[in-house]
Symmetry: C2
Subunit: 653 residues, 2 copies
């Protein structure tokens, strides 16, 4: 789509957006505030703007009089841009134009990082862990009457240079019939060893040439959701993808309640059974999508946190939640997937991502592997933010990791109007520097129902930068706006009046909400800080941040830095990998290099238990401010804050 | 028991026997002929002898008159020796005493060969394949909070110098509870790798110190019988032994009928099921005998011929009986014994003896390994004689093997009065050189019912040496004895008149019987000859013969050489190992050395298909005489035959 230029007056700010963009979102992106609090449904009528030049689409509403419409007024939230336009934002007369520069930085999310298959291929990264090869054996006669297995092994030596082979009884059982039914032409599925000098496993044999049909499954076993991908091992392509809620949710929403359930009689078996049911459902769907015959699936790579992995493998996880938090295992041998009830075929090998500790699981290791972090020179900070945040720092030479409990704030938990990132959640925000009226954006552009994690970060950051909230997270009681009020002894800022909401109540951000956010971000920031201090480095040395997990894609990076969730860094150096666990599972389905490296990498990942690291509590206390007790750690923010202060002084002067 | 001296008159031959020996058997051993044809029941009354000096026990019978008894006559077959005696054998007057020297050599069976555990120990031969070790791990605390598996692995490195370990899911699943229930004290069952640089498998873990309870099972899976031994891996001792008929017998007595049954729908499954039932019964009995807890059994080593092994492992054996006789496999990976239905425990590892070919099976390989033949300098001939005879020749540097069909003659099959070696079978024989009256011995000293394999060999050899049978296997029609007669156009020698038998019929050896025996021995001898010729050697270079299988213990070596079943060799250089298959299974339960060597040895065993070896038929035809067309191959026999001829000439002169 062609780009259109929008000039905002009186701000004299111009921005280029693709045709079809909402005018209100374009304003946010340009750093131009327009009052708006109904989420874009055209209900509140506050986002009235004047189209001075050019034509726009839509933007009409009953909230506008015929006269206004004829003059060129539109509701910004309903207006779509289709050509170059000049838009005037009505501002109260007498407001100094310079306050318009008090706007915060525009929204900026992380660059999405995909594996660079092409260059990895060039580097020889892809050593297929599973290969199908086709052999035509000479049929036996009186002179050449080796046993079938010996014949196979000898020709593998000769034709495929395979000298250390491992066979299993099921393959031996099939061999004689397949050879004779297929005229001694057969396809072998070989699994490469992980160790140098290890044996190549003949995983399966099939009659004729089916080398083109070689597939793997990558599975992320999340606490909440299970995602699967069906991978074509010849091309690396993903042929099917599906997800579903982990059936274990009925037995507890979070890891701890599942650990408790697992200790009840029959509990572990039940949890194992239901998660396998979910897996089988996901498998069924990706097989259907991809039209792949399940006989041709060679491996299924599983990645999950320590608890999810152990519940799936029927390993008693009870010590995970008891000091000193010792899991039974962090490394698992390959095994037949069918052994744990996965309905795939008899031979497919389950390969399980190893873990580092009870709280830094295979999902994180998979993210580190899949993102390539473990191979990079630059000092990287890997963050998977959820109720529990896992942190990894390091580079190709060393890695340190930890986990901390951020609490549920980022998922809307413990926030008065908190909700998950779903339709109606306020996800973006701006504030008028004079009237302190809000501009809110909701997921799905509907009237607001609540606040999601990324919205919470943005509104806290914006209000902090605008002086609405101080560095303690308290509202400025002096501001002249009805939106800041005390209710039931709690100070709050009303984001949307009840008529503009879907819930028939005022939606507000409260001081306890901000407090919860500060605790959450403080836990993560101080976790990162402590980790780096333990290895003698500091956060300002971080050259690259990788965000993983669903949440990471929505975070407004500048805002996250403003509240002190992330250290200040060029946003170009922040990447988002999405579901790192699934990415890692997919990548190691495709190359033995990762299967080889991961054992080494997991060993290399020094785990710190923050509760056992004395400096953590000090760092945590210091991080319980916006952005931090030491504003020097956030030099760009400091500069903006000082510039704003000067501007305000010059205006009031 | 004290030895007693017996002087036989008029032979002037003295022999020393243990007190309690039967006088008739002592005579046979001394090479003194006494007519006897009722098997020792005292019925025929022919073995009347006179006790001239000393006292004997028993020996009385209604067949002796009061007068005779008073004179000192006794029936030799009923007489037991209890002190030094002089015994006179009544001979017809006028018989030259020198014919008494025409007696054949006394019975001589093979020396029983047991593994020399002590010297093997000194040589460092016993590298236990399975070891139990006891570890006390420090419990985890905040400073030392490795995962349980890592803790185990690290301490194994430290304390047991184990650096390459392999764990399985079942062990991981048990670990956490065992550690905490047993105060972090545990016993590990480790299985050593076969390959250098391979991994040590942690087969099982148990709480506390149970290192003293470490057992293995050795199993011989025979076509007819299944034998098991329970071995104490700490001492090498056999704590229990039992055998039973292979349940597959109901589906066919021999290998071929079972192969045919296995091809019917469900046939393979049925045969697998019934042999496992037999195994489980044998296991039950040896566990009961030894009072060993089945949880403490680490391995079960299985040895059987190619068909028996494949039926047990559910591997389709149908090509074994079809040219070019290609078995599916000859090497099998270790697997959990419980996987094929063996009721032992969940972890015990089944280790299966490899085979050489369709007809030289794991039972033979086990014999070669267990007897130590593969480590010896001397050129050894290994013979397992049954319906099928398997032959191995070679030494520590090379081995060649083959199998030939001897037919059932050695088991009494195809012999008119043939029977298995059971009570009432004629097992030994002598003949009066003048009257041609027989002296027969039966198993159990009862009236004869038939002839078993070893009896057949002995009587053929004796009659051949005495000139009763010529080198074509035909009776000398000129001899003046009613025992040689033509009945229904078939010449025969009556061994026992009907009144002296249990079957109310004359029991005879017929010319077709002798013909069958010649075919059987000819097949084996020419098999050995062909094998050696193929490697450029000859039978007279053989320095050691090892006999295996039940039959071998009864064979009278000199007689076997006389008929040309075995090459002429000092009988001291013939050893009998009994059930070589079971011996091999036991030996490889005890030392990893055999598990390592066996793969190499099996590869080294060059297999010859006699049907594909052109010289075999010539050798076979040449061996279709007593002892052979070339008597020069049997120089001692030749000498005896010439001496006898001279004696006869001097008598008649």
């Amino acid at each position: 789509m062609a780009d259109c230029s929008i000039k905002f007056l009186p701000h004299e700010r111009t921005i280029s957006v693709p045709a079809g963009e909402s005018l209100l979102r374009a304003a946010l992106e340009a750093g131009v505030h327009i009052n708006a609090s109904c989420g874009g449904e055209g209900v509140c009528g506050k986002c009235r703007v004047l189209v001075e030049e050019g034509e726009v689409s839509e933007g009409l509403s009953e909230r506008l009089s015929r006269e206004d419409i004829e003059k060129g007024y539109r509701l910004a939230c309903l207006t779509k841009i289709s050509e170059d336009v000049t838009i005037r934002i009505p501002v109260e007369s007498g407001v100094d134009k310079s306050v318009m520069h008090l706007q915060v930085t525009p929204r900026r999310t992380a660059i999405i990082q995909h594996p660079d298959f092409e260059s990895l291929k060039e580097e020889g990264f892809f050593i297929s862990p599973v290969e199908k090869i086709y052999l035509e054996l000479p049929p036996p006669d009186a002179q050449n009457n080796m046993p079938d297995v010996t014949r196979l092994v000898e020709y593998l030596k000769l034709e495929a240079n395979e000298h250390k082979l491992e066979l299993t009884l099921p393959v031996i059982r099939k061999l004689s019939k397949i050879l004779r039914d297929s005229d001694f032409k057969l396809t072998l599925t070989l699994v490469r060893p992980v160790r140098d000098g290890g044996k190549t496993l003949i995983l399966d044999i099939q009659g004729g040439d089916v080398t083109g049909e070689n597939y793997a499954v990558a599975l992320d076993i999340g606490t909440t959701t299970i995602y699967g991908q069906l991978i074509d091992l010849s091309t690396g392509e993903c042929l099917g993808e599906a997800g579903d809620f982990n059936g274990q949710i009925s037995y507890g929403e979070d890891v701890i309640t599942r650990l408790i359930y697992a200790e009840k009689p029959g509990g572990l078996d039940k949890l194992q059974e239901v998660v396998v049911d979910t897996i089988n459902g996901v498998l069924e769907r990706i097989l259907k999508q991809s039209k792949v015959n399940r006989e041709n699936i060679a491996t299924i790579t599983l990645s999950g946190n320590t608890t999810m992995t152990q519940l799936l493998l029927s390993i008693d996880p009870s010590n995970i939640r008891r000091a000193p938090y010792v899991p039974t295992a962090t490394l698992y041998p390959p095994f037949r997937a069918s052994l744990i009830g996965i309905e795939i075929n008899d031979h497919a090998l389950a390969l399980v991502y190893p873990q580092v500790s009870s709280f830094v699981g295979g999902d994180i290791v998979a993210g580190v592997m899949g993102s390539g972090m473990y191979m990079n020179e630059e000092l990287t900070l890997f963050l998977d933010i959820g109720t529990n945040a896992e942190l990894v720092v390091g580079n190709k030479d060393w890695l340190a990791c930890t986990a901390c409990s951020a609490g549920p704030a980022f998922e809307g938990g413990g926030i008065e109007f908190g909700m998950r990132a779903a339709k109606g959640a306020i996800e973006d925000f701006s504030i008028d520097p004079v009237s302190f009226e809000p501009m809110i954006f909701t997921i799905g552009d509907v009237r607001p129902k609540g606040i999601c994690g990324s919205g919470l970060i943005t509104m806290t950051a914006v209000m902090f930068e605008m002086g609405v909230i101080n560095n303690n997270g308290k509202f400025n009681r002096e501001l002249d706006t009805p939106r800041i009020r005390k209710r039931d002894d709690v100070w709050e800022y009303v984001l949307a009046w009840k008529d503009d909401t879907q819930i028939d109540r005022d939606i507000a951000l409260t001081e306890p909400d901000i407090d919860n956010l500060i605790r959450a971000k403080g836990a993560i920031y101080s976790g990162c800080m402590t980790l780096l201090e333990e290895v003698g480095l500091s956060l300002d040395m971080v050259e690259h941040i990788i965000l993983a997990g669903g949440f990471g894609s929505y975070i407004d990076l500048e805002k996250a830095m403003t509240i002190g969730l992330l250290p200040e860094i060029d946003p170009d150096r922040v990447t988002f990998i999405g579901n790192g666990s699934l990415m890692g599972a997919r990548m190691s389905s495709l190359t033995n290099r990762i299967r080889k490296d991961v054992v080494e990498v997991t060993k290399r990942m020094t785990n710190f238990e923050l509760s056992e690291t004395p400096s953590y509590m000090d760092n945590y206390v210091a991080a319980m401010f916006l952005p931090h007790t030491e504003i020097e750690k956030f030099p760009k923010l400091k500069e903006r804050m000082e510039a704003r202060k000067k501007q305000l002084e010059s205006i009031s002067a």
